[in-house]
Amino acid sequence: MNPMAENRNETVIEIRNLEKSFGENHVLAGFNLVVNKGENVVVLGRSGTGKSVLIKCIVRLLDPHAGTIHVLGTNMLDLKQEELDNMRAKIGFLFQSSALYDSMTVQENLEFPLRRHLKRNVKYDIAKMVDDALLSVGLKGTQKMSPAELSGGMRKRIGIARTLILNPEVMLYDEPTTGLDPVTGREINHLMLEVQEKFRTSSIIISHDMNCVRMTANRVVVLIEGKNYAEGTYDDLKKSQDKNIKQFFD
């Protein structure tokens, strides 16, 4: 249950001196992060400290002011639109609110990422792809349902399924358990681990939910004042006497 061990040295995501500010508010001020192949890294931080900003910068939903971001060896900040779209296909992004398209059925939601990422002259069995993705999140047969009919946990699962349909190499989870009851949250944590194992993904998980951190993290990075304040395993940090770190565990 430690897949990171085998590919310890292969870097998937490398972030150097990332800076991003909104007006006077310097959200990221020289943030550094390295994610290795098959590793689940949790970025821990309080609300509003720019955790989401970090992963949005990775997929270029936000443009950082300074610093570099390399994903799978590609400089994300120096891409044309088409290249960027191709890179984004390799990165799965689970939004905090799941971001399912309300006006579409589950089936259409899952098909949506395929519209731009299927090769023209290859015949795809889209129905089977949708089926498989739903199967891997444990929601087989929900194709015809609309997002409004789904519970919060189901929406998260569908959200994950929607990213898995493109077989991503990197997963970015934005507060995956926020707003869920502890039981459902635990299910989602298990699902994230399953995804890690099954799809051999490397992940950045943004969270302040300690259960989530404990269950999913191979490594934890504490984000305070726009910098990586501390780094280590869950157990390492738990032992820490720093009051800034301790507050997460209390």
Binding site: F95, S97, A99
Partner: protein
């Protein structure tokens, strides 16, 4: 930073908003007509915007046709010119009343729904989700809607014209008897291209304004669900306001071009 200092905040906000809206319009023309085209979505939106508005537009147009005819009757009766009723009513309906009323109704119905829909997509990160899944949300959401309203509004206005003229026919027949045949002859005798074409051209602009403002307010929504309501509201208010300004300009321009 230096520009705008000393100007009161609402005025500054107004100009910033106007600038952003213009930028948004330019973005529409730059991105909206470049492939890949979101044709399916365009059709879906056209159905939602065009077809689904038929009942509302028909109802209001019918009432307007009927009421304008009934209201104009006494004035013409004094003058002894009741036989002019169809011509006069049809000209005012086709030229002004149907386009503007339809545009206002659509600003209320379509503008607010676009503002709310895109706004809620914005705050629930659906727009971001689209972006990362390789679909340009501006083209998928905004361009299709702006194009749909631009195409559908003139069609709705034409449709509304027909219904309003039929309402006028009933209005004429409330007092006195006029056959449908005579009514249509009188109507089309008086109507000219100068009445019809400017009205259709201006409804194209009305449609563009409604779609653009609705999308703009939706796309720039912030502050969560509360912001969605505000966007929907602002979409209606601003687009109605611009509809009137466009109407004013259209009247002036067609006057200059001697189309009236």
């Amino acid at each position: 930073m230096t520009l705008g200092e000393g100007i009161s905040k609402p005025i500054k906000t107004f100009f910033i908003e106007a600038g952003e809206l213009s930028q948004f319009a330019i973005r529409f023309f730059r991105e909206g007509f470049r492939p890949p085209y979101e044709f399916q979505e365009l059709l879906r939106q056209s159905y939602e915007i065009g077809y689904r508005s038929i009942p509302l537009v028909s109802f209001t147009a019918f009432i307007m046709g009927l009421v304008i005819t009934i209201q104009s009757h006494p004035a013409l009766e004094v003058f002894g010119a009741e036989s002019w009723l169809p011509s006069i009513v049809s000209v005012s309906l086709v030229r002004e009343i149907t386009p503007v009323i339809t545009a206002l109704i659509c600003a209320g119905k379509i503008g607010s729904s676009i503002g709310a829909e895109i706004g809620s997509m914005k705050v629930t990160e659906q727009i971001d989700a689209m972006e990362v899944s390789g679909t340009n949300p501006f083209k998928y959401l905004v361009a299709t809607r702006v194009l749909s309203t631009t195409i559908m509004l003139p069609l709705l206005v034409i449709f509304g014209d027909m219904i309003a003229l039929y309402g006028g026919f009933l209005g004429v027949n409330i007092r006195g008897v006029t056959t449908f045949d005579l009514y249509t002859t009188q109507v089309f005798n008086k109507l000219t291209f100068g009445d019809v074409l400017p009205s259709i051209i201006k409804s194209i602009f009305f449609g563009f304004v409604i779609g653009l403002v609705g999308s703009f307010k939706g796309y720039t929504t912030s502050n969560g669900t509360e912001g969605v309501g505000r966007s929907a509201n602002a979409a209606v208010v601003i687009s109605s306001f611009i509809v009137f300004i466009v109407d004013l300009l259209a009247a002036q321009i067609s006057d200059i071009l001697h189309l009236l």
